[in-house]
């Protein structure tokens, strides 16, 4: 029987704090670390299967229309070529995160430039690559003209999901009556996840059973998506994804490579490996939409908001439901009775828009936080103070209490650590040689979500513990934190705990997405361990809550015993399932934080360098301080990229992505990233999960670019409202 908990009420017992092992939260090394540093951790396309063939995609060189003909003969005659596939089941784009069903199929219809049009399979990678490139495809022109520019008047604009609309009070009136107001429009460029491991799959069939080795984030959903795409039963599909070379949203849903590999392998009767090239990953895997955001802030003389407007335009392919949820944190972060939040979607022909790390807040918060800086200047108060004055008592959009809100604490802790009191209030006040120096602040916020998750924990007769779930570790530290939860709960030294992940045959986890992974799968492990603890407590005829487990020794009241003796040769298996419940409706749940940045802007060239950055974060319980810190470093670095360098450049004449590689799409390099400082604010959130933990992976990117924008303004007086803030947008405004 599974120990199931539906989160209908807060769990204020804080059970993990009562445990004795003392490893929860500790900065332990990742258990899989040694494999990663010696190169034996095996990623998707690295399995060596006998008789494996290689598949490479050919790409559409038009943005719309139909495939009229493919010159198969010429390519089939090339050395080593085995097959050309354009099966109607092949995918136009990956499934959206959590879809659990097939995305758009049939690649003979062209939906965007660069879409895959066929898979060419050959004996070797070199042969397949040359053959895919040689494939001549003729296209029939589409009936209608395509629109490639979301700002074009020809673009159809639709309302985004109603759940993203908020309209209360009268914002126009609030703006008119305001002592101070800001009405500004910000734009942000499209982004790519650009995980370092390109998407890849190896498919092999044993009879009717498919094994897919893939690079995927959410196996439970991916099995359903893959089965649905192939029109086979879910029980016929097993996915292995023990190591994932980064995801950031791009591997949430099953992609073109997985379905194509499965189809090709089935037909050829041998394993087929499909590696996407870096350019193909850029061109065919989920972009983050560019955004246009009108921000209206109405404030009283003391800076307290009376109104807040955040009206956005994003884009996606016609028919795609996903709309970048730009206003997600604006809903609840600051007060103001008069509110108008909306997201509209321009229908354009560019590759599909979907989730990229922290969908919504990543771009919404940087604009909101820049606008708040503009307001602080108008009101004439410190920007930290402005934010603190606007933290509402309850969620102003839903009217629900916050489960826990650490924003004020984070602002204070971050300001102290950073030395915010050193900031000059005037712009252009500090110059070092060629460089203007300035400081900026921004709040961080990211919704927290609990997702149904299951796990199995086995306490073996030798006292070792095994944790099993189909959850993935995409660099987030899952191997480490799940082991720590189990070790803490069962009093087992960490060396005796093993964690098995990334196999869809194991109990279904939540997948790695939306920062919910650790809290959700960790809760499942917690519940499974609770069951084992109950079994152990029974052996003493006592209460689980009174049981103390440490280093393999069990104590209950006066009694004590070795855990191995209690197990007595019969392994104890615990199963746990967590489900979201009433607490997620009764309370507003989010992680909060604050960013402080110091930048230098070159007085001649307008180049910006971030000199240091501090982030203070409230993420509920910290499960492993080391891996949580790393997550925050990652997020803060993404803030730097989003602020300064990252931009998908589309050609407005055909919608093709011009900078489809890592030379021209500029992710931050090592030298772009200064010393970063991370401070965790002590927090337990009993509404969030029974382990009192919340999301951490995405918070670091939710607003950080705003702190950098504000620091640029403070340094040199140039307010850039168009991200990324490349030097061309700065030089025009620099003082002489």
């Amino acid at each position: 029987m599974t120990n199931t908990l539906t989160m209908d009420k807060p769990d204020v017992r804080n059970r993990l704090d009562a445990m004795a092992q003392g490893i929860i939260g500790a900065p332990l090394d990742r258990p899989e670390g040694p494999l990663k540093v010696v190169g034996t951790a095996t990623y998707a396309s690295e399995w060596q299967l006998p008789d494996m063939a290689y598949g490479v995609f050919a790409r559409a060189t038009v943005p719309a229309g139909k495939v009229a003909s493919i010159d198969r003969e010429a390519v089939l005659a090339m050395p080593g070529v085995l097959a050309i596939h354009d099966d109607p089941r092949m995918l136009v784009n990956p499934a959206q995160g959590g879809a659990g069903k097939k995305p758009l199929q049939d690649i003979r219809e062209i939906h965007y430039f660069g879409q895959t049009v066929a898979l060419v399979v050959a004996e070797t990678f070199e042969q397949a690559t040359a053959a895919a490139k040689a494939l001549k495809v003729e296209y029939a022109a589409p009936d209608d003209a395509s629109v490639f520019d979301p700002e074009s008047s020809a673009a159809t604009v639709e309302h985004g999901p109603d759940t993203q609309r908020v309209q209360t009070g009268d914002l126009d009136k609030a703006m008119a009556d305001a002592a101070f107001s800001v009405d500004v429009t910000y734009t942000t460029a499209g982004h790519a996840s650009a995980a370092m491991e390109p998407h890849a799959s190896i498919a092999s069939w044993q009879g009717d059973q498919l094994t897919l080795r893939g690079s995927l984030q959410m196996l439970n959903y991916n099995v359903a998506e893959l089965a649905d795409s192939l029109a086979v039963g879910q029980s016929q599909v097993r996915i292995l994804s023990p190591y994932v070379g980064g995801g950031f949203g791009s591997k949430l849903g099953v992609g073109e490579d997985s379905v194509a590999a499965a189809i090709a392998s089935r037909e050829l009767g041998r394993p087929v490996r499909v590696d996407m090239s870096r350019q193909q990953v850029f061109e065919t895997v989920m972009r983050r939409s560019e955004t246009r955001q009108r921000l209206r802030l109405a404030a009283r003389a003391d800076g307290v908001l009376t109104g807040i407007g955040h009206e956005c335009l994003v884009s996606n392919l016609p028919g795609e439901q996903y709309a970048e949820p730009v206003t997600q944190a604006t809903e609840f972060l600051y007060g103001g009775e008069n509110r108008m939040l909306s997201v509209d979607v321009a229908r354009i022909v560019r590759l599909c828009a979907g989730s990229v790390r922290a969908p919504g807040e990543a771009v919404g918060m940087q604009a909101l936080e820049s606008a708040m800086d503009e307001l602080a200047e108008k009101v004439g108060i410190d920007p930290v103070e402005l934010r603190k004055r606007n933290i509402p008592a309850i969620d102003p959009s839903q009217g629900t209490p916050y489960s826990s809100n650490t924003l004020a604490k984070c602002l204070d802790a971050g300001a102290a650590r950073f030395g915010w009191d050193q900031r000059q209030t005037q712009t252009c006040a500090t110059r070092e040689g060629e460089w203007w120096i300035g400081m900026g602040v921004a709040s961080a916020a990211r919704v927290h979500k609990l997702v149904e998750a299951s796990a199995r924990v086995t306490l073996a007769s030798d006292g070792t513990v095994k944790v099993e779930t189909d959850m993935t570790d995409i660099g987030t530290g899952t191997y480490a934190v799940l082991g720590q939860i189990a070790g803490e709960m069962l009093g087992t030294p960490i060396e005796k705990v093993s964690v098995c992940l990334g196999d869809s045959a194991l109990p279904a986890g939540p997948g790695s997405g939306g920062s919910w992974g650790a809290a959700s799968s960790g809760s499942a492990v917690f519940l499974a361990c609770e069951q084992i603890r109950q079994a152990l407590a029974k052996k003493f005829q006592g209460d689980e809550e009174a049981l103390s487990l440490k280093d393999g020794i069990a104590r209950l009241g006066e009694a004590s015993a070795m855990v191995v003796d209690l197990v007595a040769g019969k392994p104890i298996v615990g199963e746990g399932t967590i489900k979201p419940g009433e607490t997620s409706k009764a309370t507003r749940q989010a992680s909060y934080g604050a960013f402080f940045a110091e930048v230098a802007v070159n007085a001649y060239t307008g180049e910006t360098r971030v000199r240091r950055m501090t982030g203070a974060f409230g993420i509920g319980r910290v499960l492993n301080e080391k891996t949580a810190t790393s997550q925050c470093y990652g997020g803060m670095t993404w803030s730097i990229g989003s602020a300064l360098t990252e931009e998908l450049a589309f050609d407005l004449r055909d919608g093709h992505l011009v900078n489809h590689d890592l030379a021209e799409y500029h992710v931050p390099v090592n030298l772009d990233v200064p010393a970063l400082e991370v401070v965790f604010v002590e927090e337990r959130d009993p509404h969030a999960s029974p382990i009192q933990a919340k999301g951490v992976g995405e918070l670091g990117i939710c607003g950080g670019a705003g702190a950098i924008a504000n620091a640029i303004y403070n340094a040199c007086g140039v307010r850039v409202r168009d991200f990324p803030m490349t030097l061309d947008k700065i030089i025009g405004g620099l003082p002489d």
């Binding site: 670390g33 070797t124 370092m196 790393s630 990652g634 030379a663 030298l671």
Partner: protein, 164 residues
Amino acid sequence: MPALVINGTLRSFDCDERTSLLDLLRNHAGLTGTKKGCDHGQCGACTVIVEGRRINSCLSLAVMHDGDEVTTIEGLGTATDLSPLQRAFVSHDAYQCGYCTPGQICSATAMIEEARMGWPSAVTDDVETSPELSDNEIRERMSGNLCRCAAYPNIVAAIRETAA
């Protein structure tokens, strides 16, 4: 039919002339520790050490390395016998997903030697001098290895500790 000394062992291969050194390692030699992030010299994930120097194995043909000595991540240490730099990467959490990691470690291993030989870098003020390996020197010299997870601060810390 190139023959290369890989991690101390002479091995010859029967492969297409088009095979990059990277694909030779991954697809023919069974050494998948060396990663492919871009295949175009833009990420550094494929960094290996050839004749003592770090290079991008994706932008080199295997046939061009006939007779060369190649050291890959597998040649630097094993899970039970880590090199000092590998150990420092583990203790400093100088990775997240781990995909860029072998390239970072091969690159840093050779980079530390370059610094010992007194090579300047783009952040060296006076190129006539041989600079100390400051954090900024490490950052510049490691900028040919992208890490999208952005473990950069920890990568710098691991290298600083090992090079000291």
